[in-house]
C-alpha cells in the first residue's frame, strides 16, 4: 500500500463465556448437539416467557474485565436492541448499551514496530443469535441452540494500524481470555469471533476516514489479510477521487478481496431501551470476590516472570505461555524441581510434539513428573540428550518412571567419591608403567586411566569426577 496512507482499525470481539447454561435460561450451551434441542420458551422468544440471568456468566464477564484492566461498574443495564432477523426469535437482542458492564482498559502488545498499548473502550454482556444454513431450496434453516448463549463483546479503540497489528491484538486478547478460563479461544467453531472496523486516511491526518465493517473473520490469518485487502480497496477508491461507503463487507479468502454484504439498506435503527424484564445488574462485593477468586496470572505476567526471573529465553516463554495447560505443565515441572532453562528448552519441542490441544483442553503424552526425571538424568550425566529423547518415547502414554528404567538398565552415575577414589588408587597401584609415563610428561596417559575407570564401572562413573580424582593422584610427587 502507498506509504502516503495509514490504515486505522478497531476490533469488536465476541467471546463466548464458558458457562454450562445460556445467559437468560437454563438451556445447555454445549456445542455439537442436533439442531433445536437446546431451546426453551425463553430462548425461543415465546410470549410471556421471562429471562432469568445466569450468575456465572456475570462472574466470567467481570473476571474478563478485571484481567483486561477495565473498570467494572457497580451498576449496569441490559437493553433491548431491536432488529428483525430470522435467527433472533424475540425480534430484539438483549445486550448492554448506555451502561455496559465495564469500560476503559488496555492491552499491551509486542508488535514488529515495538510495544503498543491498545485502549479497550468497553466490555459488555449480550446474548448470541441462532445459526442459519442457507441455500436449502430457497429457504434458510434456523437452529436456535446458540440463541441466548452468553457473549462478552470487547471493543477496542481505533488504535491498530495494520492487519498484522490487528492479528497480534486478537492473539493477545485470546490468550488473556483463555488463561482466565473465560473463553476457549476457538475461532473456527465461532466461540471467539471478530468484526473489524477499517478505514484509511492520509499519513499525518488525525481525522478518521469513513469506516467499513468487516464481518465473520474466522482465522487470525484472514483477519490480517481481510484488513489489508479492504485498506487497498479504500485507498484505490480515494486515489481515484471516489468515496468510501459506510457499509458492511465480508472477506473472500479465495479472491483475497472484500465484497459488500448487505448492500444499501436503511441504516439500522436499533431503538435501544432498558429491558423492562431485567432490573439493573448490581456487581456487589460477593460477585467481585467470585470473579477475583478465579483470576489467574496473565500470560504477559508469566512471560515476564519466566524470562526475567528464571532466565528462560523469550521465544520459549512465549510458547510456554501460549496456552494455560502448557503453562501449567511447565509450572508443575518447576515445582517438582526441574531446571527452568532445561525445561523451557525441552517442553516446546519434545512435549508439544505429541500434544493435542483442543480449546481449553490439552492432552500430553508425557507427564511433568516424567519430564522432570528425564531432565534430572540429563543434568546428572546419566543420559545424553539423545538418550533422554529415546527414553521419553518409551515412557510416552505410560506412567513408567524414566529413572527406574534407567537404573534397571544399569544406567546410573557412580558419583560416590570414596568408592571412585578407592578404584583410582587401585588402578594407579596396578599400572606402574603408565604412572611413570605420565609423570615423565605423557599427559595423554590420563585418558587411558579414565578409560579403565569407565570400563571397570561399565560406564557408570561420573567422568568429570574420575578425571579429577586421577589427576590429583597422578600429579602428586611419587612418594
Amino acid at each position: 500500500m502507498s506509504a502516503r496512507w495509514e490504515t486505522v482499525v478497531g476490533l469488536e470481539v465476541h467471546a463466548q463465556l464458558l458457562t454450562r447454561t445460556k445467559l437468560f435460561c437454563g438451556c445447555p450451551t454445549s456445542a455439537g448437539a442436533p439442531p433445536n434441542v437446546q431451546v426453551c420458551a425463553v430462548c425461543l422468544g415465546l410470549p410471556g416467557a421471562l429471562p432469568a440471568a445466569n450468575r456465572e456468566a456475570i462472574v466470567l464477564g467481570v473476571r474478563a474485565a478485571l484481567a483486561l484492566g477495565l473498570t467494572v461498574h457497580e451498576e449496569s443495564v441490559f437493553a433491548r436492541k431491536s432488529y428483525f432477523y430470522p435467527d433472533l426469535p424475540k425480534g430484539y437482542q438483549i445486550s448492554q448499551f448506555e451502561r455496559p458492564l465495564a469500560t476503559g482498559g488496555q492491552l499491551d502488545l509486542e508488535t514488529s514496530a515495538g510495544p503498543r498499548r491498545v485502549t479497550l473502550q468497553r466490555l459488555h454482556l449480550e446474548e448470541d443469535a441462532g445459526k442459519s444454513v442457507h441455500g436449502h431450496g430457497g429457504d434458510s434453516l434456523v437452529d436456535l441452540n446458540r440463541a441466548g448463549v452468553p457473549l462478552a463483546e470487547i471493543v477496542s479503540a481505533p488504535d491498530l494500524r495494520s492487519g498484522e497489528e490487528a492479528a497480534t491484538y486478537l492473539r493477545a486478547l485470546r490468550d488473556v481470555l483463555v488463561f482466565q478460563g473465560v473463553n476457549d479461544g476457538n475461532l473456527e467453531s465461532g466461540s471467539f469471533r471478530c468484526d473489524a472496523n477499517v478505514s484509511v486516511r492520509r499519513q499525518g491526518s488525525d481525522t478518521l476516514g469513513t469506516r467499513v465493517e468487516l464481518k465473520n473473520l474466522n482465522s487470525f490469518r484472514f483477519v490480517q489479510r481481510a484488513i489489508e485487502a479492504e485498506a487497498r480497496r479504500q485507498v484505490a477508491l480515494l486515489e481515484a477521487g471516489a468515496a468510501v461507503d459506510a457499509e458492511t463487507r465480508s472477506y473472500d479468502p479465495e479472491a483475497d478481496r472484500t465484497a459488500s454484504l448487505r448492500g444499501k439498506e436503511e441504516a439500522h435503527d436499533y431503538r435501544y431501551f432498558p429491558d423492562p424484564d431485567l432490573p439493573p445488574l448490581r456487581v456487589d462485593e460477593a460477585l467481585l470476590e467470585a470473579a477475583r477468586a478465579g483470576l489467574g496470572e496473565s500470560p504477559a505476567a508469566l512471560r515476564a516472570r519466566w524470562t526475567e526471573g528464571l532466565g528462560v529465553p523469550a521465544a520459549a516463554a512465549r510458547t510456554l505461555a501460549s496456552h494455560p495447560r502448557i503453562a501449567e505443565f511447565f509450572q508443575r515441572a518447576l515445582a517438582l524441581g526441574a531446571d527452568a532453562r532445561r525445561a523451557a528448552a525441552w517442553i516446546p519441542t519434545e512435549v508439544l510434539r505429541g500434544a493435542e490441544i483442543d480449546g481449553l483442553a490439552a492432552t500430553f503424552r508425557v507427564t511433568p513428573e516424567q519430564v522432570t526425571e528425564l531432565l534430572a538424568l540429563v543434568e546428572e550425566g546419566v543420559l545424553s540428550g539423545k538418550q533422554a529423547k529415546d527414553l521419553q518415547l518409551e515412557v510416552e502414554g505410560t506412567d513408567a518412571s524414566p529413572r527406574a528404567i534407567a537404573e534397571g538398565r544399569g544406567l546410573r552415575v557412580v558419583a560416590d567419591e570414596a568408592a571412585l577414589a578407592a578404584l583410582c588408587d587401585e588402578l594407579i597401584a596396578g599400572a606402574e608403567r603408565q604412572v611413570a609415563a605420565y609423570r615423565k610428561g605423557q599427559r595423554g596417559v590420563l585418558g587411558w586411566f579414565v578409560g579403565q575407570a569407565m570400563q571397570r564401572t561399565r560406564g557408570a562413573a561420573d567422568p568429570r569426577l574420575v578425571t579429577r580424582l586421577l589427576t590429583e593422584r597422578l600429579d602428586k610427587p611419587a612418594s
Binding site: 458457562t19 454450562r20 447454561t21 435460561c25 437454563g26 438451556c27 445447555p28 442436533p34 439442531p35 433445536n36 434441542v37 437446546q38 431451546v39 426453551c40 420458551a41 425461543l44 432469568a52 440471568a53 445466569n54 450468575r55 456465572e56 456468566a57 456475570i58 443495564v77 441490559f78 431491536s82 428483525f84 432477523y85 430470522p86 442459519s132 444454513v133 442457507h134 441455500g135 436449502h136 430457497g138 429457504d139 434458510s140 434453516l141 434456523v142 437452529d143 436456535l144 436503511e266 435503527d269 431503538r271 431501551f273 432498558p274 423492562p276 431485567l278 432490573p279 439493573p280 445488574l281 448490581r282
Partner: protein, 96 residues
C-alpha cells in the same frame, strides 16, 4: 410533540407492520392523542427526578448456572409455519 405521517410510516416499517393508507391515517390520529397525553407529564416540574426505567431499588436477580429441561424438539418446532431437517425453515435471507 406531534407525530407526522412519515414518522408513523417509518416506525411501522421498523416494526415490519404493513399498513394501508387509511390504516396509517387512523394510526397517526390515535398516536397523536396518545403522545399528547404522555406530553402532559412534560408539563410537570420533574428536573430533579432521574429517568426511571425500573422500579427504584430493584436489582437483577441471579440464578445458578444449572441446566434445566429443554423443550422437546417436536414441541419447539410445532408452532413454526414450516420446518425442514429439524430446523425452522424461513424464506432465504442471505444469498451467497
Amino acid at each position: 410533540m406531534s407525530l407526522d405521517r412519515e414518522t408513523v410510516a417509518r416506525v411501522a416499517r421498523l416494526a415490519r407492520i404493513e399498513l394501508s393508507d387509511s390504516e396509517l391515517e387512523g394510526l397517526v390520529r390515535d398516536l397523536e392523542r396518545i403522545v399528547a397525553y404522555v406530553d402532559e407529564i412534560g408539563a410537570l416540574p420533574l428536573e430533579a427526578v432521574p429517568p426511571t426505567a425500573h422500579a427504584p431499588g430493584a436489582t437483577l436477580p441471579l440464578r445458578p448456572d444449572a441446566p434445566l429441561p429443554c423443550l422437546d424438539r417436536e414441541v419447539a418446532l410445532a408452532e413454526a409455519p414450516r420446518q425442514a431437517e429439524s430446523a425452522f425453515a424461513v424464506p432465504e435471507f442471505v444469498t451467497e
